[in-house]
Amino acid sequence: MASTTQFSGVERFDAASKTSQDLSGAWGIEFDKVSKSFGSHRVLVDLDLQVKAGEKVTLIGPSGSGKTTVLRLAMTLEKPSAGDIRIHGESILFDALGKPLSSAQESRIRRRCGMVFQQFNLFPHLTVLQNLVLAPTTVLGQAREQAEQAALEYLRMVGLESKVNAYPAQLSGGQQQRIAIARALVLKPEILLLDEITSALDPELAGEVLDVVRRVANETNVTLLIVTHEMRFAREVSDRICVFDQGRIIEEGVPEKIFVHPERERTRSFLHNVLNH
């Protein structure tokens, strides 16, 4: 009798862990028929994109094809004109009754995402350490010491622990961007959005930033959604590449397929233009 109870308990436990495993194996972030217009200009048209938890997906394509908008929508910096976006199956736009989320609900779900920008966007009046502890102490309510400890850990990860007390203006662009990556990571996001993070840097500095992203990709299980023009990097770090043109995904697949055997003429001409200049 006792053993039966125990057995059913284990069974229940197994079932529960399986469900949670199913969830983690499920979509990290999904875009469901998402459209976005600015005035009469349609930036995204009926976008369907599913990214698995832990997957590294890179969006490539010509300027103005809507790649950055995808990231800004995921970060709730923009609202879609139509469609829905879900993180771990939970809409970032509507509650269960289909009503728009309150700002508190939005803030709770936004916590799962972090973003790094093309222009770094470090706070110029704060030191490196202050940049890193501001969100943990105010958003997560961490004690200052604990937040500083965590910040130092991430600064070591990006190789800049010696710059704790520097101001952003005293750092090179590459260093600033590495700090920005650390600043996003201290909040432990499940999904990290990287928006052309090397576009404002010269090639040498871009290299050190990409090295940091490689480490993040290899050493954490964070879901990466990347917009970049660095094709070699995209090929190396991505599980999957999506090619954008005029607000639509025109082709997607593993890097090998996209870079070596692209099916669409538009993909071929885009890659030709990017790789030969």
Partner: protein, 215 residues
Amino acid sequence: MSWEWKFVWDMMPQLLLGVWYTIVVTVLSSVITLFGGLLLAILESVSTRIGRMFVRFWLELFRGIPVLVLLYFGFYVLPELGITLSGLAIGVLVLGFVYSAFCSGVYRGALITIPNGLRDACVALNLSPYTTWSKVLVPIMVRRAMPALANYVLMLFRSSSFLFALGVPVLLGEAQQVASQTYHFLEAYTVAGVFYLAINIPFVYLLHRLKVKHG
């Protein structure tokens, strides 16, 4: 017309009282100006259309009417409406309101020059609106606005002389009183002018330093 040092010496206590009142008025109304201007700029930025219209109206009111008119209104008209304040209080409030209207424009200008990317970063870090304003936007606004704000504080300091019209013993008021009692206009107004200038000079130096530091 001849310069008599003895009168200069005799009127010193009265003029120094004027210096003291001038400094008190300047400091008190500067506090209203610097905080009030910031508050108006933030209100204008975050409020709805109606709130923004109210702020606009407030700004035009205090920027559009001459200081002396506002002072007389506060001193002679407000008591008829049941609000009786001392000349000093009215003077400090009027100067504070007038210059906070000017300074809110300075703060607003500083706010506009903050790149949108920094606000995006605040959203991406999930900072609350309160934290975004108090820890990011306001400190940057204040830094950028500082040189222009110092300029307005300087103007406010000179405008404090208007308060003699309400009988507040600011430097000009005291000089006028001494002059009219003794008919030594030359000494009274010259020394008053020199005092104004002497207080001004450290301010100007500070302003120069700020401009060098904050561009």
